[in-house]
Structures are given as structure tokens and as C-alpha cells.
């Protein structure tokens, strides 16, 4: 887990096994005043969020080793103090192809994003959680 030592208004947790995907997403979120905590898989993200004093947004890749994104978000949504954090799934596979979309919806995942994520999509997402 890597923590960026800067003062931002909001805090986000990104879980993705690709370091470059995390880096690109972090760069975009920092433009919207987010401090970003990075985790390289679902297990690392779960360990991280339990230690975070606050979190305003979670973006998790779906296909990751050790613990996939849906398993991680299931843990989050089943934990009373974390369940209200807006959660998003990020995947190379489009929403129409993932059989797990219904499960994600039932869990309370807010949206499904398809890689590569565009800057304007991050803007939409940030606006949505600030509503």
C-alpha cells in the first residue's frame, strides 16, 4: 500500500493489480482534490480500509489475484461503519458481459466502469458522489 503525503479534501481507495492503472487513476482523482490510497489487490485493499480513518470513495478493479473486486466490496458492504462509502467496480470487461453485474447491484455498488477510464468519466463519477 502506498500513501501520498499531501493534504486533500477527500480520500479515495483504489484497488487494482496494475500499477500503471493505479497511477493513471490516482493522477485523475488528485485533480479533484482526492488523496489516494492504493492497494494492489482486494486483500490489500481490505487491510487498508480497516486502518483508514475516513474514506469518501472506493474504486476497485474486478479481476485481481488473492481477492477479487467483488469479494472485497462484499466485505465493505457487510461492515456497518463502511457500508455507506460509494463503491465503483472497474473492469476491462464491459458491464454487458459480466455475469456478476446483478451481484454488484445487489451489493450496492454504484456503477460499473469499463477500462480504459477517461478523464471525463472520473469527473462524472466525482460529481455523482458529491451530490
Amino acid at each position: 500500500m502506498a500513501k501520498k503525503e499531501t493534504k486533500h479534501k477527500y480520500v479515495a481507495l483504489i484497488a487494482d493489480d496494475s500499477s500503471t492503472a493505479r497511477r493513471m487513476l490516482t493522477k485523475e482523482l488528485e485533480n479533484f482534490d482526492f488523496e489516494v490510497i492504493e492497494a494492489e489487490n482486494g486483500q490489500a485493499a481490505w487491510n487498508a480500509i480497516l486502518k483508514m480513518p475516513t474514506c469518501d470513495l472506493i474504486i476497485s478493479d474486478f479481476n485481481m489475484p488473492q481477492m477479487n473486486g467483488l469479494e472485497f466490496l462484499k466485505n465493505v458492504k457487510n461492515t456497518p461503519k463502511l457500508k455507506d462509502i460509494p463503491c465503483f467496480i472497474l473492469s476491462t470487461v464491459g458491464a454487458e458481459a459480466e455475469g456478476v453485474l446483478a451481484i454488484a447491484k445487489k451489493l450496492g455498488v454504484m456503477a460499473w466502469l469499463t477500462k480504459p477510464v477517461q478523464a471525463e468519466q472520473i469527473e462524472i463519477l466525482v460529481r455523482k458522489i458529491k451530490e
Binding site: S18, S19, M24, N63, T92, A95, A97, G99, M110, W112
Partner: protein, 195 residues
């Protein structure tokens, strides 16, 4: 000299079996969307030769009808060039590991988009996690179809560099061919799906 139809010169689209054509199209579209490049397919000139480019990333796609292996052979220098072009970062702002990871993420992107393409044809498929290894020599063959397996190899070419792609697709149920002939619309810049 008589031309062997199985030679992988890939001069005309009609010579390429549908499964190989779809993989090629999705691979190029995914690469260009991910990197902002304008890459093209270049046939491999040598036949029955080794592909050796120090690094190789492999990702698997599985469905009831076939299993497919997609391999990207590349060098660190190529990975650095691609990553710099796609991210706007300078070489000294990137580590070699990050650039290698970028190619790994590309293969992940390809497989995800391939699954999306198959879904539109009514074929449900799953993908593995991509793995990168080094020092892997692969022998490529001219036979496009051998032992129930469709093979393909070509260079994803852009600027002065390229990635050699090899694919092996083992067909378990030939009824899938009808689905592969369907026309599908490949969406670029997929919207956010709010649940």
C-alpha cells in the same frame, strides 16, 4: 512456385479464419484505444521461426466452445516507448516495471474487450489474470490450423517498434463458428453503467 494457402502472410482478410480475425481486430482496437496510438498489423516475414523478445505476457480466455491463449512478446525498450506515448510521461519518470505492467494491462484490456465482443455474439467467456515472464522462446508455425487449434502470429506495429503477438485457440465445439460470423458493433469509450 505454388503458394501454400496455410502460409500466414495474411494478405487478404478472407484468408484469415474468423476467430483469428476477431482476435486481431479486438487486439488492434484495444491497443489504439488504450495508448492513443495508430498501430497496424504487420505480417511476420519469417516462417517457422522463433519469436524471442525477452519478455512475454500471456492471458487466457475460456468459454464452453474454445480456449484461447494470447501472447505478447516485447522488449523493455518497446514497453517504455509505448508507456511514454500513452501516458505522456518521460522515460525518467517511469520504472521498467511500470512499463512492463503497462503491456500486461494492455493484454488484460484485450481479453476484456474480447469477452465483450464474444458476449455480443451470445458467447459467455471468462479471462485469466495476465502473467509476464522473461526468457521465453516460442516457435511459430506456418500452419494456421493444426491439431484442433487455430494459430496466428503477427506484429502489432507502430512507429519504429512493435510487439509480436501469437495466439492459439483450441476449438472444442465447432457450432461456435456460426456465432463468430455474426456482425457486432464494437463500442469505443464505453459509458459508465450506473447500477
Amino acid at each position: 512456385m505454388t503458394k501454400t494457402p496455410k502460409e500466414n502472410t495474411a494478405k487478404a482478410d478472407e484468408e484469415i479464419p474468423p476467430i483469428n480475425r476477431i482476435i486481431r481486430e479486438v487486439a488492434i482496437d484495444s491497443f489504439n484505444e488504450f495508448t492513443g496510438a495508430n498501430a497496424t498489423i504487420k505480417p511476420v516475414a519469417k516462417k517457422d521461426d522463433f519469436v524471442y523478445d525477452f519478455l512475454m505476457t500471456i492471458i487466457l480466455t475460456h468459454c464452453d466452445s474454445f480456449d484461447s491463449m494470447f501472447k505478447a512478446h516485447f522488449s523493455v525498450a518497446t514497453a517504455m516507448k509505448i508507456t511514454c506515448q500513452a501516458t505522456g510521461l518521460e522515460p525518467d519518470e517511469l520504472t521498467e516495471e511500470e512499463s512492463i505492467d503497462f503491456i500486461k494491462e494492455y493484454t488484460n484490456m484485450f481479453a476484456g474487450h474480447f469477452v465483450g465482443d464474444l458476449a455480443q455474439r451470445g458467447i459467455r467467456a471468462d479471462i485469466s489474470i495476465p502473467v509476464t515472464t522473461s526468457g521465453f522462446d516460442e516457435v511459430v508455425f506456418t500452419d494456421i490450423f493444426y491439431n484442433d487449434e487455430y494459430r496466428d502470429y503477427w506484429v502489432l506495429s507502430f512507429g519504429d517498434c512493435g510487439i509480436t503477438i501469437t495466439t492459439n485457440t483450441k476449438v472444442k465445439d465447432t457450432s461456435v463458428f456460426a456465432d463468430l460470423e455474426k456482425e457486432v458493433l464494437r463500442k469505443k469509450k464505453q459509458p459508465i453503467t450506473f447500477l
